[in-house]
Symmetry: C2
Subunit: 216 residues, 2 copies
Amino acid sequence: MKWGKPDNEPRGYHHGNLKEALVRAALALIAEKGPAGFTFADAARWAGVSPAAPYRHYRDREALLADVARRGFELFAAALAKAWDEGRPDLMRAFDRLGKSYLDFAKNQPAYYSAMFEAGVPLDADPQLREASETAFAVLRAAAEKLVLLMPAKGRPPALMVALHVWSMTHGIASLFGRGDAARRALPMPAEELLEASVLIYLRGLGLTAGAPPGD
Amino acid sequence: MKWGKPDNEPRGYHHGNLKEALVRAALALIAEKGPAGFTFADAARWAGVSPAAPYRHYRDREALLADVARRGFELFAAALAKAWDEGRPDLMRAFDRLGKSYLDFAKNQPAYYSAMFEAGVPLDADPQLREASETAFAVLRAAAEKLVLLMPAKGRPPALMVALHVWSMTHGIASLFGRGDAARRALPMPAEELLEASVLIYLRGLGLTAGAPPGD
DNA sequence: TGTACATCAGTGAACGCGCGTTCACTGATGTAC
DNA sequence: TGTACATCAGTGAACGCGCGTTCACTGATGTAC
């Protein structure tokens, strides 16, 4: 599965799209061996260029990884925003979609997720990276803002806290059970259901749902 | 901080305690540069022996890491069991201690925590590793068992699910905000408080607390 | 208590390997006129 | 439209380095008698 390589049709002296190819190489290699499991030279080999070529596009391996993380956060933010859809048709349904979309991303884009949260890329490596990560979190936060407005003003919890809680639950599930690799634990139920139940119980704890208690 | 090395007092031909020293070396190096950031040779150097010496004790770097993870889970299980203390003096207080103890471990033993949850060590690398990890989780599960018994039998959720929920929340917070390194996000409140609030809201959602809503 | 011997836990030199990085280079592309 | 030239994006050879791993070895320790 090397969609970065023209494989048959041999390319000329110039690759033409090496930067993109390197990103794809990084993703493929992360998926295969984890974020620490590949080298700059590997990426070059995967893209079918000489080991010196990547230096035209990235200062070093770190910079490539940071770029992958940045792109990941941008895709992530877009996916979350689309799922949230400004809270339509109603907040509960939209919130549910938001959580599922988060898990979906972790499951279907494990390489991006890895680069974003597990590769140890410092967020300040690149202002654009930090910005992308904040944009993604802003979606969650905006959703929390709207949610807490459903509560009576008196005992209303800080929206930021609610956002952090939901983020933690979701990331916890994604990171412990979300992916299918060997290091993860087996689960008696799908991760999506585990998350949905957890968020429902949490929201009920906030007084936000009138639903039946779990188990009924 | 090389407590593994006799430093001044030069040792003889035999190290005497190399296995332990290698474990300490791994912990120190993980703390310094992350679980992927050290080599077998590094560990030997840190312990002050030749690069061939570690082979007398571990098949390879993976085996060393797995041993560190195993020891980590054993310490972890002991800490959790002590905090839970069979639910004394009452379940709520004991449960609160349990969560705090989890976060404590993540914060004070980041190197162990890393080896256990982030180094990608497959649990089946070693039966003892798997067993240790299950012993740790069993504490959480036993606590959840007792907790759900407080609920009316009718709408009682599966204890396993409750245990997984709490584990996810805690691991999520620990992994996103628990440690002080550069890759983590800043928080408007201490991680312990964030967790405590989250668990309280969750338990209220289960109908388990009569406490006031947050913010009052 | 002494001695011979087996076993254990280290040494240090050596190897092949792949990595990161640099360098002068060259083929391809774009642009000014 | 053609040509000269600058710039760009690759090459490939080279380097020093540290790693993982092996090997025959040796010093220290434990034990049988």
